[in-house]
């Protein structure tokens, strides 16, 4: 059945709740995995970046 969203789009039926929630749960799990890797990559870089500033040089 065609539906109209807030922007006036005539599109397909909205996502059914069980599958939509499953998608959100899977996406949340993926975000956790992603940010484990991201933090591993960015940690040393962020420290190097902060060391450009005298305040942080004193702190470390």
């Amino acid at each position: 059945m065609a539906e109209q969203d807030g922007a006036g789009n005539v599109g397909e039926a909205p996502p059914a709740p069980p599958r939509a929630l499953l998608f959100v749960a899977l996406a949340a799990a993926y975000y956790v995995i992603y940010y484990v890797f991201f933090v591993m990559r960015v940690r040393e870089y962020f420290r190097d970046l902060l060391l450009h500033f005298p305040f942080f040089r004193k702190l470390f």
Partner: protein, 601 residues
């Protein structure tokens, strides 16, 4: 900063010249944003080919580049006038309060955060060049081209690497120096955002700002905006090609199809590692066959021509001057040596999955990532197979990953261990991915409130660490960008070999020739060792012989820049005659950048 007014003027000329080209082709772009972005990209393409012609004739000078810009302006006077009017109206009607504080609407915040990333990147672009690959390849090669007024048929001390966007840099550097070249590089970032937004807006009205945010709030875009790397230039052409393709599918004007093929060619012409964009060609051909029927062959021929010129001019130049289409890549001798030095390729199957993992998380550096939202949204499109307009771009993004991995497995297996996969796939993941993700997000907004909120959070929350990182980088660059910190003080902090280069640049001897055993030769204005220096060099004796033969007077040594095992210990090689250490500068840890003079016998 002095390059900024010239850059603004050039953008106006490019916009107007692109509009003129569109009028000549009988095509229309609608809305100021789509028209500005698409027309400017067309002009950048035309500029690439024109500058290449000048470079082959070795006529790239300040005067010839100025004439080229004036010619572009002269043929588009009518459009220039009209666009000046659009600009005036646009400035007068802009709500500056809304620009500074977007209010309650989440899409306005998405656009605002995207704008912040571009503004912070602009600060970085105004500071002198420090990027590793910029100083090593992109601007280093272009600086040599400026010195030679174009391209040498028998290059001695520089290398052919890539062509496409180098010609835009070359035009900028010849006309307005490094500052203008940096800004022309920066231009790819906002243009890509505008095109991603324009494309998504056509696919599903109301999703333009979220498409721009999908691109802008990714590590790849955040990291590279303001640096003179090439990935965002590829992204620029991918988004423009997809927009042209969509116009052809929706409206059927054949010129759109040819433009889509041509823009795909420009994307591939930027660098060879952009080859995953080739997945875009089959849908283009199929769309032509479906729409044109038996008359499709004429359009396909026009498309092949349109694709081949921008994609092929640089490889053909390489082949005619060096005998190889892509020196350094896909070159058998190089690959053979990589196999000898490289990993155990019998373990390629497990490495295949490691590589895939890095595509969906991050590759070697944090910036080598398309971000989690685009990957999650492509997964969502596959799970729901909705909305319809997201399916093709999602399949194109997946097809690009599949094609890339296929080429690596069958042709470049050792590259499975070169951990830059997310960077090489980034333009396709973001360009096609944003066109899938934003309509998907728009469709999911009609679902349960929890899902709506989670998806908006998934798009916007990752912006905060990225904005923090970008703000930190911009804060480091800002004093140099705005003239508070001197160029040499800034560069000495950022580039370990900068002071050694300045020392050699200041020597009165005109015959200084340098063996640059370091990373970024961009700031060295002296002749370098010839390209074939290392042929037949197997140890220290061969090395000393080649130094004498090639007239090397100085060596700059930077730790970790040297791959040869016998050169790893500088004291063992350079600790005795004919080398005399002139100076040393601190590197990381307890290591040093060292500058040696080579005494003549």
């Amino acid at each position: 900063m002095v390059a900024v007014p010239g850059f603004a003027l050039l953008l106006l000329v490019f916009w107007s010249f692109g509009d003129r080209l569109m009028r000549g082709l009988g095509l229309r772009t609608e809305g100021a944003v789509e028209r500005f972005a698409f027309s400017t990209v067309l002009s950048l393409g035309a500029l690439t080919l024109s500058t290449f012609a000048l470079a082959v004739a070795r006529q790239v000078t300040w005067v010839s580049c100025l004439i080229l810009a004036l010619l572009m302006a002269a043929v588009s006077v009518r459009e220039l006038r009209a666009n000046l009017g659009v600009l005036k109206t646009g400035v007068a009607s802009t709500s500056w309060k809304r620009v500074l504080w977007p209010g309650k609407e989440w899409q306005a915040w998405a656009a605002w955060l995207s704008g912040i990333i571009v503004v912070l990147g602009t600060v970085q672009a105004l500071a002198p060049v420090t990027g590793m690959d910029t100083g090593k390849f992109h601007f280093a090669a272009v600086k040599m081209m400026v010195r030679e007024h174009g391209l040498l048929t028998a290059p001695d001390d520089w290398y052919h690497r890539t062509g496409g966007y180098y010609m835009v840099y070359l035009f900028g550097m010849a006309l307005g120096g490094e500052g203008l070249a940096r800004l022309l590089s920066l231009a790819a970032s906002p243009l890509a955002l505008l095109l991603a937004g324009a494309c998504s807006e056509r696919l599903r009205p109301g999703t333009g700002r979220s498409a721009a945010a999908v691109v802008a709030l990714s590590p790849l875009f955040t990291g590279f905006t303001g640096y003179q790397y090439l990935e965002l230039s590829v992204l620029l052409y991918v988004t423009a090609a997809f927009l042209a393709f969509h116009r052809y599918r929706a409206e059927g004007d054949r010129a759109w199809a040819v433009l889509a093929a041509m823009l795909t060619g420009f994307a591939l012409g930027v660098k060879i590692t952009a080859f995953p964009v080739l997945v875009f060609l089959p849908p283009l051909v199929l769309a032509a066959v479906r729409r044109e029927g038996s008359r499709a062959w004429m359009l396909i021929l026009a498309g092949i021509l349109g694709f081949s010129i921008p994609a092929g001019f640089w490889p053909v130049w390489n082949w005619s001057t060096t005998g190889s289409f892509v020196p350094g890549y896909l070159h058998q001798a190089v690959e053979d040596s990589m196999v000898q030095l490289g990993p155990d390729e019998s373990r390629w199957a497990s490495q295949f999955f490691v590589a895939l993992g890095s595509v969906v998380t991050t590759s070697e550096y944090w910036i080598d990532s398309a971000g989690p939202f685009v990957i999650a949204a492509i997964g969502g499109v596959l799970l729901f197979r909705k909305p319809a307009e997201s399916r093709l771009p999602a399949l194109l993004a997946l097809g690009a990953v599949g094609f890339y991995m296929f080429v690596l497995v069958v042709r470049l297996r050792s590259y499975l261990w070169v951990d830059s996969h997310a960077r090489y796939l980034g333009p396709c993941l973001l360009g096609f991915g944003a066109a899938a993700a934003a309509p998907f997000l728009g469709w999911m907004q009609s679902g349960p409130k929890l899902v709506r909120t989670a998806l908006i959070a998934g798009l916007l929350l990752p912006a905060f660490p990225l904005v923090a990182l970008k703000a930190g980088k911009a804060a480091v660059a800002a004093p140099a960008a705005f003239g508070i910190e001197s160029r040499s003080h800034y560069l000495a902090k950022k580039i370990e070999t900068f002071e050694a280069c300045e020392f050699l640049n200041g020597l009165p001897d005109p015959d200084v020739r340098v063996q640059f055993l370091a990373q970024r030769p961009y700031y060295l204005d002296r002749r370098l060792a010839p390209n074939d220096f290392w042929q037949g060099v197997r140890g220290k004796d061969d090395y000393l012989r080649r130094l004498r033969e090639t007239g090397i007077t100085h060596v700059i040594y930077e730790p970790a820049a040297v791959a040869l095992p016998w050169l790893k210990d500088p004291d063992a090689v350079f600790g005795s005659a004919p080398f005399v250490e002139l100076r040393r500068w601190p590197w990381k840890g307890h290591s040093w950048v060292r500058l040696y003079a080579v005494q003549r016998p």
